[in-house]
């Protein structure tokens, strides 16, 4: 059965034989860049469509159903509309920062893609500090949002950006601590090692209650980090009209919009990798027949399935819950999530030392 690992290896060998080391590196870089951009545009279209359909069904309506079969090309039409729209820069705005901000947000989202393992061996950069890299780089995106809010010269934008800054900086902590819980259990920061450690069972099942708590905190924290409802205070439609991207229009707005969905995909992919075994198939201890059937499903399907499940859960949150207030949001982090995750980290460490996990 051809797997993604074989394809990439074969391609690498073939390129090396044809062109030599330097050219191979260059060609592969270009290929990866094209693949990443392609993945992002497809993700943007698919996720926005998914969000609209999920929200529609939860709100007892049909959702987009006019453009293409069952409305599948609605997002394509929307993108076309955004491309032909004029990208206005408001009077009095800091033009350089205003135009730079959406690209920063987008580039940060793209960079986090590097260490993600989509399937066995199908990974852009298997860096030995993969998890640290993800946590470190993802906190940079707040700079893009602050930049957008400040440069817009709009009070709503400024308030939204400031909220977003406070929020992302706070929730980084508990997200990071939940990630560290898995790192403690695995003993490695390398993504491929973390996935490999889950061959005999996902951490969510192996790690007892402490990992379950870490997982719940991680889901809450990533919902907040991606500025999604019920933590969408940076946009807070009913309070700040559109928050930090109030003044953006056309393709610049689309970049923010796309970055939001790509960020959701990436954080959910990280969650799937750490807690749900990445591309590892579902295995039940001794039931070998069942395990064999599961092995036939390729890793990329497992990975995408788990990621999209988490994305669905986050969308489910959004279309059910009201929004928190800014002080409640910070209370939740500093008074509840952070102490719990610190205590939880102690438990996990104890568990790892004593070897209580499976």
């Amino acid at each position: 059965m051809p797997s993604l690992e074989n394809i990439t290896d074969d391609l690498d060998v073939w390129l090396y034989q044809q062109f030599g080391a330097t050219a191979t590196f260059l060609i592969e870089s270009v290929l990866i860049a094209l693949l990443a951009i392609g993945l992002f545009s497809i993700l943007g279209l698919v996720l926005i469509m998914m969000e609209r359909k999920v929200s529609a069904y939860m709100q007892v309506r049909l959702g987009p159903n006019r453009v293409g079969p069952k409305g599948m090309f609605q997002t394509v039409a929307d993108t076309l509309k955004l491309i032909v729209k004029e990208g206005m820069t408001p009077d009095g705005a800091d033009k350089f920062l205003f135009n730079l901000a959406p690209f920063i947000v987008m580039i940060i989202a793209m960079v986090i893609l590097a260490p993600l393992a989509f399937s066995k061996g199908f990974q852009i950069w298997d860096i030995n500090i993969g998890v640290l890299f993800i946590t470190a780089v993802s906190s940079v995106s707040v700079i893009g949002i602050l930049m957008a809010g400040w440069a817009s010269n709009n009070k709503y934008s400024l308030l939204g950006a400031m909220r977003s800054g406070a929020q992302i900086v706070s929730y980084e902590l508990s997200a990071g601590l939940s990630v560290i819980a898995i790192v403690v259990l695995t003993g490695s920061l390398r993504i491929s090692d973390i996935v490999a450690s889950q061959e005999n069972g996902w951490w969510l099942f192996k790690g007892h209650i402490p990992v379950l708590i870490a997982f719940v905190i991680f889901i809450i924290a990533i919902t907040a980090e991606t500025n999604r409802a019920p933590f969408d205070l940076a946009e807070a439609e009913s309070e700040l009209t559109a928050g930090f991207h109030t003044e953006y229009s056309g393709m610049k707005f689309a970049l923010f919009f796309l970055a939001e969905y790509v960020n959701i995909f990436i954080v959910c992919a990280v969650g799937a990798t750490l807690f749900l075994g990445g591309w590892m198939p579902l295995h039940f201890g001794s039931n070998t027949q069942f395990n064999h059937v599961m092995d036939y499903i390729p890793g990329i399907v497992w990975f995408m399935g788990k990621t999209f499940f988490l994305i669905f859960v986050i969308m489910w949150f959004r279309w059910t819950f009201p929004r928190l207030r800014i002080d409640q949001l910070l209370n939740l982090e500093w008074k509840y999530l952070l102490p719990i995750s610190l205590f939880n980290l102690l438990l996990v460490t104890l568990m790892a030392i004593m070897g209580w996990h499976f």
């Binding site: 929200s55 939860m58 709100q59 007892v60 309506r61 009095g92 010269n153 709009n154 009070k155 709503y156 308030l159 909220r163 409802a229 019920p230 969408d232 205070l233 807070a236 439609e237 009913s238 309070e239 700040l240 009209t241 559109a242 109030t246 279309w319 059910t320 819950f321 009201p322 929004r323 928190l324 207030r325 800014i326 002080d327 409640q328």
Partner: protein, 387 residues
């Protein structure tokens, strides 16, 4: 959508638009919320002074959709002006019309047939339900949950269908005329109301699941925008806003009109005075309205639906006042007649205006999110305020 904001400016240079110029600190941020803003439910213009996220002052600016309805009414006959009042508080247009009809009937001393009285009360309570349903959905949207809005509109649609069948239109009905109602009940009316009651009783529990019991919603509403009973009275608040602050003010109980004194229903009173108390008042009022409709729907007496009136109505010289309980509070109609076919002077006491005046008091010291929640819990309809 336009987003109108003021450019950050030196605190010493204050234009009259920026809240009258009584700024306190240099770190204050002045924001125009509205007239075009997603959560002002129309075109309310608030100028808010912020210190960080904390609200220092809220100043409502009225006049954006002022249509001088009261002056307009002076050139309309006593049959015609009733219709204009449904454009004020368009969510309780039936009840507004009802108040005007009561006032004209008081002047002409018309005895309204009992069937007409029962039909009027039925329509009033259906209107109240429809209004509260829309409020519930819009409040959910204000605090960030978008799904309740569509669920609320699903049931509201059934009421609108009932109105459409009997009255002819869905929102501004003009179904009440001096002396009764414009047309008899549609033959399907009773069946469809029964169907509606059956469905709504199931769905109102889902409303509780989605918002009432939700912990985030509770935290957003409880202890926010507290209005004491004394303040509620001194600001002239009426309706669910005052009843949430432990003030007894239901006109249906205090000064019963039509057949309300023969009905079994409770005046809903909450003691909290915060947004959640106002929320609970409206949620319980929906159940009370349902019970009123259930009591009346099979008991509509036979008879005329409209008393015999002259083609041209002339109110005897004098002053007339009547009041009704709309979905938002007390609606008063004051007519001065010189004996002609048109009113000499007319004045409406609309509930929204008085309720809005308490906004500044409630919102001070809160966050922007609180302001939005308070505005949602006041259930403002802007044409009712601006007239």
């Amino acid at each position: 959508m336009y987003r109108q904001t003021e450019i950050l400016q030196d605190a010493t240079q204050v234009s009259p638009l920026n809240g009258g110029g009584d700024l306190e600190g240099a770190g204050d941020l002045i924001i125009n919320v509205g007239p075009q803003h997603p959560s002002t439910h129309g075109v309310l213009h608030l100028v808010i002074t912020l210190n960080g996220e904390t609200i220092k002052k809220v100043e409502p600016h009225l006049g954006y959709i002022h249509r001088s309805i009261e002056k307009m009414c002076e050139s309309l006959t006593f049959r015609q002006f009733i219709y204009v009042t449904s454009k004020m508080d368009y969510l309780s247009s039936h009840i507004n019309n009802h108040g005007c009809c009561l006032c004209v009937e008081k002047g002409l001393q018309i005895e309204v047939p009992e069937r007409a009285q029962v039909i009027r009360v039925l329509m009033d309570e259906l209107t109240r339900l429809a209004s509260h349903q829309l409020w519930w959905g819009a409040l959910g949207m204000d605090v960030g949950a978008l799904t309740p809005f569509f669920h609320a509109f699903r049931e509201r649609e059934l009421i609108n269908d009932i109105f459409e069948e009997t009255c002819g239109t869905r929102l501004t009905m003009n179904y009440m005329v001096p002396g009764g109602v414009m047309a008899d009940l549609h033959p399907n009316f009773q069946r469809r109301v029964h169907e509606f009651i059956k469905q709504f009783k199931l769905k109102i529990d889902e409303y509780d699941e989605l918002l009432t019991d939700n912990i985030i919603f509770k935290n957003r509403m409880q202890g926010v925008g507290v209005l004491s009973a004394a303040d509620a009275v001194s600001y002239g608040c009426t309706g669910p806003v005052a009843r949430g602050s432990n003030v007894v003010c239901d006109i249906r109980k205090l000064y019963p009109y039509e057949v309300y004194n023969k009905l079994q229903f409770d005046e809903v009173i909450e003691t909290g005075g915060d947004c959640y108390a106002r929320y609970m008042v409206r949620m319980k009022e929906m159940r009370q309205s349902l019970s009123i409709i259930e009591q009346l729907i099979d008991q509509v007496p036979e008879g005329e639906f409209q008393a015999k009136t002259k083609a041209v109505l002339k109110l005897p010289k004098g002053e007339y006042y009547s009041r009704v309980e709309t979905a938002r509070g007390e609606f008063g109609v004051y007519i001065v007649s010189e004996g002609g076919t048109t009113p000499y002077r007319i004045k409406f006491r609309s509930p929204g205006f008085s309720n809005l005046s308490a906004l500044d008091h409630m919102a001070r010291g809160g966050k922007i999110g609180d302001l939005i929640a308070i505005m949602g819990s006041l259930d403002l309809v802007i044409p009712d305020i601006d007239r």
